[in-house]
């Protein structure tokens, strides 16, 4: 058991080092959400007047939306890293050592989770600096971060599995470009559910992005609905476990293709 844990840690360390030693990449990952935050914050500022947002400041409403959207958009590229490791021969090198397959994949998961958490906290702090108010306090923020990490894990693991299966950059780029905006706009990221057309509101109920936003917003509000928080985070956790399991299974089909 302790071997599995230490192997996972070695793999995580290795990936964190890549992140830390490529400052340009690190800065872009952390800065891009800022653009979303202030761009959408200014663009849609007056929309809050329509009502149903549960606050009078659009920034309050927007922060969880941008946190979750950023978690999606940074994790869905995880497969590119895996693809690079396949092409470079790194994955095959690890697969011929006794390292466990789960540790290989979990190294990715932990690394992506830590980066997502850091990114989420930075967005929350920037929102705070911009005048956003979080009545739910630190506990509420922690739940938002947890939900965005879980969501990131779902899409990061799926992206890794896709990278191993198709082994083509173009497919990952195509699928991500196809998914990012529809998933984001078919959720409560920018618009209060009561202002949405009925079909979008119903579709959003099945969108894991929306689960993360609902859980985070509710936990951060003055009077959290713990039922909502639990059901949505529970759903995300189940999806995350399933996606990671699937991505570990994908090693088998990868083995057939090498």
């Amino acid at each position: 058991m302790s071997t599995a844990v230490s192997q996972t840690w070695y793999m995580t360390q290795r990936q964190l080092m890549v992140f830390a030693r490529q400052p340009a990449y690190a800065i872009i990952t952390l800065i891009q959400p800022v653009i979303w935050l202030f761009l959408f914050g200014s663009l849609f500022r007056k929309v809050v007047g329509l009502g149903g947002f549960g606050t009078t400041s659009y920034l309050d409403y927007l922060v969880p939306g941008v946190v979750v959207m950023s978690a999606l958009s940074s994790n869905m590229w995880a497969g590119m890293g895996t693809l690079e490791e396949i092409q470079r021969g790194t994955l095959n090198r690890f697969l011929t050592t006794p390292v466990s397959r789960a540790a290989l994949m979990n190294g990715n998961v932990v690394n992506n989770g830590l980066i997502t958490a850091l990114q989420s906290v930075i967005i929350v702090l920037l929102g705070l600096a911009g005048g956003a108010d979080y009545p739910g306090g630190i506990g509420g923020v922690a739940i938002l971060v947890l939900a965005s990490v879980l969501l990131g894990t779902v899409f990061g693991a799926l992206s890794n599995a896709l990278g191993m299966l198709v082994q083509e950059r173009e497919s990952i780029i195509g699928i991500n470009t196809f998914l990012l905006l529809p998933l984001t706009f078919l959720s409560s990221a920018f618009m209060a559910p009561s202002q949405m057309p009925g079909w979008i509101r119903h579709t959003a109920d099945f969108n894991p992005l929306d689960w993360a936003m609902v859980a985070g917003r509710s936990a951060m509000s003055e009077h959290p609905d713990w039922g909502d928080v639990l059901s949505r985070t529970g759903g995300l956790l189940a999806l995350a476990v399933a996606a990671v399991w699937l991505s570990i299974r994908t090693f088998r089909s990868y083995q057939r293709s090498v």
Partner: protein, 338 residues
């Protein structure tokens, strides 16, 4: 080389087909005795890398069995992984990590730690002349340095069997010679068995004690370099023609030349005739005379002691360079054409 010990590597009837009906292996058999250097020689696409992938637990065969260091690769891949070191064509050292960091991580994956790990890493850096570069990120290494690091990565846990897949491909001549010296030194290490694949005839001849020539997914002949060359009695005579001979003329010429005294094997393709003769020098005038009578113009004629190229020609039925050229598209054609 005692025959009482179990072989370090034993593969029986390995068959592997990739999706799209591409046959990579069509009944691969190899046996590598402990403590020896064994060379798998063949052109690109012959099945060498696929064999290595199966023996190193990376890929699974469609059928057939294999044991490495006494462990079954399908039933106990974990035991095999502990016993082997693998230096693939792309070993993928982490480019942003330093040479030392790469080696330390590799060692940890095999359970090395603490002072033992430090010692082993220092030892390898020293041995592969990487000590000065140990603190630099790998992305700044030259091709030769990277390759040396790759080999060091494969040795970190003192494996019983080392797989070297095309160890010198892509290296400049100087780095290649240095790598050959390094491999020759490794071969002297106590008990280390090396299975090396190469498409350089010279490399196999120089490094391997036993060679298996691989063509189209199976072994066509196996032996020591001297045995293989010795089987080809006499000399090789190569005659270059001024122009290519057609299919009809070819059969006729092969018949005529094959009938000459002291001439054994005649192979004609395009403008090249390869002849095996008891005494090359004596056969040349007779060959040239016969060609002149047949009205074929000769550009040049050379006599040579047999080389592995000749061995390849004899057993694979085609010239090595042709097989190399075909290897490039065999991934696409292999299934249907064979």
């Amino acid at each position: 080389m005692s025959s009482t010990r179990a072989p370090a590597v034993e593969a029986r009837q390995l068959i592997k087909t990739y999706s799209g009906d591409v046959t990579a292996l069509s009944g691969m058999d190899i046996t590598v005795e402990q403590g020896t250097v064994f060379g798998l020689l063949g052109p690109n696409g012959a099945g060498k890398s696929t064999t290595v992938k199966i023996l190193t637990t990376l890929a699974r065969p469609d059928s057939g069995t294999a044991t490495v260091a006494g462990h079954d690769v399908l039933r106990h891949p974990d035991r095999v992984r502990r016993a082997i070191g693998v230096v693939a064509q792309n070993s993928g050292a982490d480019p942003v990590a330093t040479g030392r960091e790469n080696l330390r991580l590799q060692g940890r994956l095999y359970g090395l730690k603490g002072a033992g790990l430090d010692r082993r890493v220092d030892e390898l850096l020293e041995r592969f002349s990487l000590a000065d570069a140990a603190r630099r990120p790998v992305k700044g290494y030259s091709g030769g340095m990277r390759r040396r690091l790759d080999v060091a990565l494969g040795l970190v846990h003192r494996p019983e069997v080392l797989f070297l897949d095309e160890p010198t491909t892509g290296l400049d001549p100087e780095a290649r010679t240095a790598m050959w010296d390094e491999i020759a030194r490794l071969a002297g290490d106590e008990g280390l068995t090396i299975l090396l694949t190469t498409h350089y005839l010279e490399e196999a001849d120089r490094l391997a004690e036993r060679i298996a020539i691989v063509d189209r997914g199976r072994v066509v002949v196996e032996g020591s370099p001297d045995e293989l060359k010795g089987e080809l009695r006499g000399d090789a005579v190569h005659v270059e023609l001024s122009e290519a001979v057609g299919e009809a003329g070819r059969t006729l010429l092969e018949g005529t030349l094959g009938g000459l005294p002291g001439v054994h094997q005649v192979l004609l393709d395009g403008r090249r005739i390869s002849v095996r003769a008891d005494d090359g020098g004596a056969a040349v005038p007779a060959l040239l005379g016969a060609l002149e009578r047949a009205g074929v113009k000769v550009a040049s004629a050379t006599v040579a002691r047999p080389s592995l190229d000749d061995v390849y020609l004899r057993y694979a039925g085609r010239r090595y360079s042709e097989a190399e050229a075909e290897g490039a598209d065999s991934f696409v054609l292999a299934g249907g054409a064979r």
